[in-house]
């Protein structure tokens, strides 16, 4: 295959990473923006989403689409509830102290991951895609007779992959609309601006925190359900999305939603492209160093504007 079609495929893979990462990163960003909690266990909620999706799909049996749709609803709900429980049992008791919650969520990371190892086991397990549609992509070629459409061998994708990108875009858009338009979104923004003031105005701040933490985890789980027909469910799969979400949230400017989404697209695409052409490890080295340097020299993110 030529370079250009190859690049096109890499871009497509990058777009899928970007789609999933934008979901997990928006979850992480909401939690940090509103609660001032750095949730290190976020990747484990992602993993839990994939594991639950496998469990739902394999329990239900029947047509693949049925199991997948059930998983799409049950997994985020279950993971969200677990996160809300963790908020009540742990974070609330720590008074949402920034540093202590980081340490506590590190503990949660191990607890969730190891419980998954004990119950789900060490193997990777697949979930079948809801539909199976292979799409060959045409390419154009310049020849003596002008421009011809050709169908290079290997230049293809699945309809499901395209659906993932569309679904993520729809979900992220609806989250933004929800935050802007709904009453609960207003409560969240008020809490973010000044939790004491919000409390004085009768907003149940503690309940808002609980819902936000659940919502953040549910978004990670949703991303996992979408990806699990492409990658398999595995108890250690939480590490990469955690790292990538961190990178995205920091580069986008901590707690800024538009910045986060922009960064998700940028990082997801470049991660996909660098991984295809160079090595995935090198891509991650560059990305982690970029995060560290952004935090040191541009603490408001690459897109954030500086206010001092």
């Amino acid at each position: 295959m030529d370079f250009a079609p190859h690049l096109f495929l890499a871009t497509l893979e990058g777009a899928i990473t970007a789609a999933v990462i934008s979901l997990t990163a928006v979850g992480l960003s909401l939690v940090f923006g509103i609660m001032r909690v750095v949730n290190v266990a976020h990747g484990e909620f992602f993993m839990l989403g994939a594991v639950v999706a496998w469990w739902v799909a394999s329990t239900l049996g029947g047509h693949a689409a049925l199991g997948f749709l059930a998983a799409l609803i049950i997994a985020p709900l279950f993971v969200g509830l677990m996160a809300a429980l963790a908020d009540r049992l742990v974070l609330e008791r720590l008074n949402y102290d920034l540093e202590r919650t980081i340490v506590a969520t590190i503990g949660l990371l191990y607890v969730i991951q190891q419980v998954a190892l004990m119950t789900f086991g060490p193997d990777a397990r697949p979930v079948e895609a809801p539909f199976d549609l292979r799409i060959a992509i045409p390419w154009f070629e310049f020849s003596d007779t002008g421009v011809n459409l050709i169908w290079p061998w290997g230049l293809a994708t699945t309809g499901y992959k395209l659906a993932v990108i569309a679904a993520a875009a729809i979900i992220v858009t609806s989250i933004i609309v929800f935050l802007k338009r709904s009453r609960f979104g207003l409560m969240m923004r008020a809490t973010q601006m000044d939790s004491e003031m919000a409390s004085a105005f009768g907003i149940p701040v503690r309940r808002v925190y609980c819902v936000v933490f659940g919502l953040g985890a549910a978004l990670a789980a949703l991303g996992a359900v979408l990806i699990v027909p492409i990658q398999q469910a595995h108890y250690l799969m939480g590490g990469d999305p955690l790292l990538l979400s961190f990178i995205v949230v920091i580069i986008g400017g901590l707690g800024s939603l538009p910045g986060t989404i922009l960064a998700a697209v940028l990082i997801g695409m470049s991660d996909g492209i660098i991984s295809v052409f160079f090595s995935p490890t090198l891509a991650k080295i560059l990305a982690t160093l970029l995060v560290a340097l952004v935090l040191i020299f541009r603490p408001h993110g690459l897109f954030g504007h500086h206010t001092s």
Binding site: V38, V90, R93, L94, L98, E99, R100, I102, V103, A104, I106, G107, L108, L109, Y110, V111, I112, Q113, Q114, V115, L117, M118, P122, L243, F246, I250, S279, T281, L282, K284, I285, T288, L289, V291, A292, L293, L295, I296, F297, P299
Partner: protein, 309 residues
């Protein structure tokens, strides 16, 4: 009183060798080497109040600073140990210089990211480091002046001497004006600055000492147990010293040793029952942050013996 505490801690470590079985001698040697790591971490976290999530980078800098020259250049163990210390010192100065421009959560994430980049770099240069799989340091390379440090007695006392040096170094350091200033920075950074202390310089020095001790632990581990692998640079090895220090008691001289030993045996015993032995680590961390943020020695100090250093 503190002097007699130090003496009795160190004497008991010597006596323990003759009392317990060979199996536990091996464990204790490992615990003492890892406790050096915890002692180093404690200087930064417990005494200076800086929570790093990237100390595995310094541990690995010491480990590979010793192991790579032995493996590829055929350097003698003593020289290699010096190289391990030098590489840990250099890495901690550079990382400190950069990371200390941030505070709080940003500092935690920056150190985490640098350590992650270091870990990935070890994988990337797998040609020399052999990545996750790691490599063994041959017995022939672990002999200094005719003493074979792969033997359990030699290994135990080498671990003991190194631990004793690290332990006494920190005990002394925190009694000096420099150490008092570190504690002052932990308690109230802005006040320390407004007393005229160069807070940034003090933190950088704390980072240097802390990182170098962590590297010494890594180098000693590779040398005494004959193995270096990328796992020791992973996030998990940045979390472990935090766990040990939290368990034992942050900002206490004895805490790191207690915490390391406690966690070591906790994991050792639980791994007889389940492969998911990290579950114990996770639960311990959550429960500690919730119920005993001062750790074992810290709670003892609060409730029983207020003079505990």
């Amino acid at each position: 009183m503190t002097k007699s505490l130090h003496i009795s801690v160190l004497t008991s470590l010597v006596l323990l060798f003759f009392v317990v079985s060979d199996y536990h001698d091996g464990n204790l040697a490992r615990i003492m080497v890892l406790a050096i790591y915890a002692v180093g971490y404690n200087l930064l976290f417990g005494y200076t109040g800086l929570l790093s999530l990237g100390h595995a980078l310094f541990f690995a800098a010491g480990m590979y600073g010793l192991a790579l020259p032995i493996q590829h250049l055929g350097v003698s163990p003593i020289e290699a140990f010096a190289m391990g210390l030098a590489s840990a010192a250099t890495v901690s100065l550079v990382i400190g210089f950069l990371a200390l421009r941030t505070t709080g959560a940003a500092f935690m994430i920056v150190t985490l990211m640098f350590a992650q980049a270091g870990f990935l770099a070890l994988l990337y240069f797998g040609q020399w480091t052999r990545g996750d799989e790691g490599f063994v340091i041959q017995q022939a390379d672990r002999i200094i002046a005719g003493i074979d440090f792969s033997q359990s007695t030699e290994r135990y006392f080498a671990a003991f001497v190194l631990f004793a040096v690290a332990y006494l170094l920190i005990a002394w350091l925190i009694s000096t004006p420099f150490g008092k200033c570190l504690i002052a920075i932990r308690e109230n950074e802005e006040r320390a600055q407004m007393l005229g202390y160069d807070v940034h310089r003090h933190k950088l020095l704390a980072m240097l000492v802390s990182g170098t001790l962590s590297g010494a632990s890594g180098a000693a581990y590779a040398f005494l147990f004959g193995y270096a692998g990328a796992t020791f640079a992973s996030v998990q090895y940045s979390i472990l010293p935090l766990l040990w220090v939290l368990l034992g008691g942050a900002g206490t001289t004895i805490g790191p040793l207690i915490g390391t030993a406690f966690a070591f045996y906790l994991i050792d015993i639980s791994s007889h029952f389940t492969t998911a032995h990290l579950l114990v680590v996770g639960l311990a961390i959550v429960l500690l942050t919730l119920f005993a943020p001062q750790g074992l020695a810290g709670e003892i100090r609060n409730r029983l013996i207020s003079w505990l250093p």
